[in-house]
């Protein structure tokens, strides 16, 4: 275990080297800032992608249409039963009257339809239940359950008129939505991983080059009798410094960038404002970006020095 004098010397050597190798330090910080910026923006991209996909998935639902003669309490009872199912997120009840009002307003410019409605006199529409599942893949189970209810019918004639899940078109749309959101999520993840991987590799290489310029010094240090740890530690201090400074620059840069992007892209990303998201999750970003920077700097320096210590 190094004593306090050694630690003090290591820190001083690290800071001094950092300062005296000004240009190398600057270059390393710039490259590392790019890396951390990519890490930061991919974090945002990940969050945005998730929220966009979530809004898309949220558009999926299954509607149960009841017969006009279905008594309201039975419908409400079914709503309760559905609500109790683990797969179900939310069940919205629309009464026959509300359905009619909605139908009227939807067709308010269509005189012919309204006239036909008038002729009928009676409300031709039944009540509806709008079911949203917790996950898009669970609609099948819910629909099966409803179908059972329909067949059992509680003795008499079934109160359920139609379940739109069994419409060919509706079902295709649901399946397609699931496919698209799933593969978008997967592709997004792969792209993010590749991007982060490449930039980390670039950072790594930059630090290796920075230390390559010191390879003769490392040899001299070895020949003068310095221990491996004593040679390596100041380089790691430098690497950590690069990481810290680049991290702070990145966090500062993200502020105007998200501010500018925030209003421009809010509607596009399913209602999430990147700027307010950044501010509200600042400690998360702080931890990830500074943490990545420091870890990257320390590990890259550690590995880069290793090859010149073999003397």
């Amino acid at each position: 275990m190094p004593d306090s004098v050694t630690i003090k010397r290591i820190l001083r050597a690290g800071f001094l080297d950092f300062w005296r190798n000004g240009f190398v330090s600057l270059a390393s910080i710039l490259v590392m800032t790019v890396t951390l910026f990519v890490v930061g923006t991919t974090l945002f991209a990940g969050v945005m992608l998730q929220s966009t996909l979530a809004t898309l998935r949220d558009k999926a639902d299954v509607t149960v249409y009841f017969t006009t003669s279905a008594p309201e309490e039975k419908v409400l009872q079914l709503q309760k039963t559905l609500q109790a199912l683990p797969q179900v997120q939310e069940v919205t009840y629309t009464s026959a009257e509300d359905a009619l009002t909605a139908f009227r307003s939807r067709h308010q410019n269509d005189q012919l339809t309204l006239q036909a409605l008038q002729e009928l006199g009676d409300n031709p529409l039944g009540a509806e239940l709008d079911i949203k599942a917790k996950d898009i893949s669970q609609y099948d189970a819910i629909a099966q359950f409803l179908q059972q209810q329909q067949q059992n019918g509680g003795g008499g004639a079934s109160i359920i008129d139609k379940i739109n899940y069994f419409d060919q078109q509706h079902r295709q749309a649901l399946d397609r939505l699931q496919e698209i959101t799933d593969s978008a999520g997967r592709i997004g993840l792969i792209v993010i991983l590749i991007l982060v991987g490449v930039t980390i590799a670039i950072s790594f290489n930059t630090l290796r080059l920075a230390i390559y310029t010191s390879r003769e010094e490392i040899q001299v240090m070895r020949l003068v009798g310095a221990g491996q740890f004593y040679i390596r530690a100041p380089f790691m201090v430098e690497g950590v410094l690069y990481g810290l400074i680049s991290g702070v620059i990145t966090l500062l840069l993200l502020y105007p960038v998200t501010y500018w992007m925030g209003t421009a892209t809010q509607s596009f990303f399913g209602g999430i404002n990147v700027f307010s998201y950044y501010l509200s999750h600042f400690f998360f970003f702080f931890a990830i970006i500074i943490g990545t920077g420091v870890l990257l700097g320390a590990v890259a320096s550690y590995l880069a020095v290793r090859r010149y210590l073999k003397i």
């Binding site: 004098v5 050694t6 010094e217 240090m221 070895r222 310095a226 221990g227 491996q228 004593y230 003397i311």
Partner: protein
């Protein structure tokens, strides 16, 4: 104190650098190794620092087989050996003072020792006024004197000077040799490699003459004969 036991070195391309070299060095000796370029002088001294491994034979320093010391302990051995190179090998990012202090820091010496010893050796090589200059602000002779100061500051048992005057003019050469002689007078063993005839003839000390990887002469009070 130092014993080379039938040391041989063959490089990967089958070129022979050393062949069956045996000799020993007593404490306090000043020994010069001479020979043409490529005779194996540098390889020989690198062996003592464990910078090179022999292909056969072994090198002992104070009864320790140098090449059996593990990599993470080798620095303790190197602290007992001061080194001076033809190309000075100072740390370019450190001042003259810091270069010397670094060797002490690396050896884990206390701050007070460093504050008292570094000015002392700077005075010994007559460079007190250049303490805060960086190596590129010093002449070749001055850089070499800083390197010598760094080599002696940990009070090593041996100093290896590998062609220390190779890059210097006659005046600086003379100065460096005088400093080495002074250090030797204070009791430190010195191993000097050179191909400078003038230096050898002026020293009047033991001379080992090498040619093509072999020792061809070992004279108690030698001259440069090649």
């Amino acid at each position: 104190m130092i014993y080379y036991d039938r040391v041989g070195k063959v490089y990967a391309d089958n070129s022979i650098a050393l062949e069956d070299v045996s000799f020993s060095v007593e404490p306090g000796e000043f020994i010069s190794i001479v020979g043409h370029s490529g005779a194996g002088k540098t390889t020989l001294v690198k062996m003592l620092l464990a910078e090179e491994k022999p292909t056969s034979g072994s090198v002992f320093f104070e009864s320790i087989n140098v090449h059996e010391v593990p990599m993470n302990r080798i620095n303790h051995l190197r602290r007992k050996i001061g080194t001076v190179f033809q190309d000075f090998r100072l740390l370019p990012q450190k001042t003259a003072y810091e270069n010397i202090a670094f060797a002490m820091e690396a050896a884990g010496r206390a701050e007070e020792e460093i504050h008292s010893d570094v000015p002392h050796v700077l005075d010994l090589v007559d460079l007190t006024d250049k303490a805060n200059n960086f190596p590129d602000e010093l002449s070749g002779g001055e850089q070499q004197r800083i390197a010598i100061a760094r080599a002696i500051v940990n009070q090593p048992d041996v100093i290896i000077a590998d062609e220390p005057t190779g890059n210097l003019d006659p005046v600086n050469t003379f100065e460096i040799v005088q400093i080495l002689k002074k250090i030797n007078d204070l009791g430190t063993t010195i191993i000097l490699t050179t191909h400078n005839k003038g230096v050898i003839d002026a020293l009047k000390k033991r001379v080992i003459t090498m040619d093509r990887g072999k020792i061809i002469r070992d004279d108690r009070e030698g001259k440069y004969i090649l």
